[in-house]
Amino acid sequence: MTTQADINAEIGARAGERGPQPRIDYPPYRSSVLRHPAHEPSPVDPEGVELWAPCFGHRDVEAAESDLTIQHAGEPIGERIVVTGRVLDGQGRPVAHQLVEAWQANAAGRYRHLRDQHPAPLDPNFTGVGRCLTDANGAYRFQTIKPGPYPWRNHVNAWRPAHIHFSLFGTDFTQRLVTQMYFPGDPLFDLDPIYQSITDPKARELLVATYDHEVTRPEHSTGYRWDIVLTGTHRTPVEAS
């Protein structure tokens, strides 16, 4: 049986590697062993559709979908939070009017998903799915509840730090990103092979939101800010406008 100490040693052995992206060949995350390509990716210049991203609009997303606390008759249980920030491209320009998708566990660390058998309660008032479009400044905003950490079976006594899954599009197909947003100061960071698959500590911090009292709503919810930078675009700004 693999223990947390075993995983910590494996994480430690890879900690010196550099580069801001996750190592896809990262055995401490056991499920990755047979699911990563062994070949290096082939370099290619984007062409045709790859220079453009799919287009989403208000026809696709209702404004209410950004509030994960109003999808049922009652209030979900947990700490109400706002998560907001901007989606930027690699040149720092806002990604305007683009789709942001989010999904998460409930306050008890349980997903509303058949495969989640963690014996923590489901919340009849919380599904854990949100969508929104960024505004002209690239800003997105979700009203939700803070997800709980949860156990998984990577090794004995494995726990994931609390996180919200994010799915993002840029202005080019090549900027597609799915990642996870974490909360500041989580004691599980050092123990989690998914988070630690990003071996550069500065890059890992890019996935951690900051508490922002300006985002906190009086007598309602605490606020977190998380800006998301995508990779660079391949079109010139003139073409992109």
Partner: protein, 186 residues
């Protein structure tokens, strides 16, 4: 600016990403509809039942589509984008149109993104239409050994096109890196 790192979609992405009609860019059986389908396989040749495949493609005339509506399809608007989760046998399918070439003389392809539990970052690839007479003009295909290039080419079937995605091992699919990523990952 350093881009945010990716993370796996995890085992519970079905909660947030797939949606009704996501894999039907056009209604199955409608005029010009084809099935683009295949399996996602791991390094042991086993199906990956918790993968997600997205396609982004030109229209039949090679036009890049700029129409919203992928999340709420109306049955009439071709948006060029779709999303399909694999089933318990690792199989995915789309009902769509065959893309045209966005540049004359170049072979048409579907741009493909692959996500899975166990896969720590998304992968990009291309699924080319069969038609080897144009492959010599393609910078990617012509630079690859033929057996590697073959992993990027769909197989024609009576109802459409087949494209299997092998994440690792024998016949491993060629995955791509674009300059914007190489620059920031260096």
């Amino acid at each position: 600016m350093t881009p945010a790192p990716g993370q796996t979609v995890g085992p519970f992405f079905h909660l947030g990403l797939p949606y009704d009609g996501g894999n039907e860019l056009v209604p199955p059986g409608s005029a010009g509809a084809i099935r683009l389908h295949g399996r996602v396989l791991d390094g042991g040749g086993e199906p990956v039942p918790d993968a997600l495949v997205e396609i982004w493609q030109a229209g039949p005339g090679g036009e890049v589509v700029r129409a919203p509506g992928s999340l709420r399809r109306d049955g009439w608007t071709f948006t060029g984008w779709g999303r399909a989760a694999t089933d318990p046998e690792g199989h995915y399918w789309f009902s769509t149109l065959e893309p045209g070439a966005t540049e004359a003389g170049r072979p048409p392809f579907f741009a493909v993104t692959v996500f899975a539990r166990g896969l720590l970052d998304r992968l990009f690839t291309r699924a080319y239409l069969p038609g080897p007479e144009l492959f010599g003009a393609d910078p990617l295909l012509s630079a690859l050994p033929s057996e590697r290039a073959a992993t990027l080419v769909t197989t024609r079937e009576p109802a459409g096109l087949r494209f299997d995605i092998r994440l690792q091992g024998d016949g491993e699919t060629v995955f791509l890196s674009f300059p914007g990523q190489r620059d920031c990952w260096a």
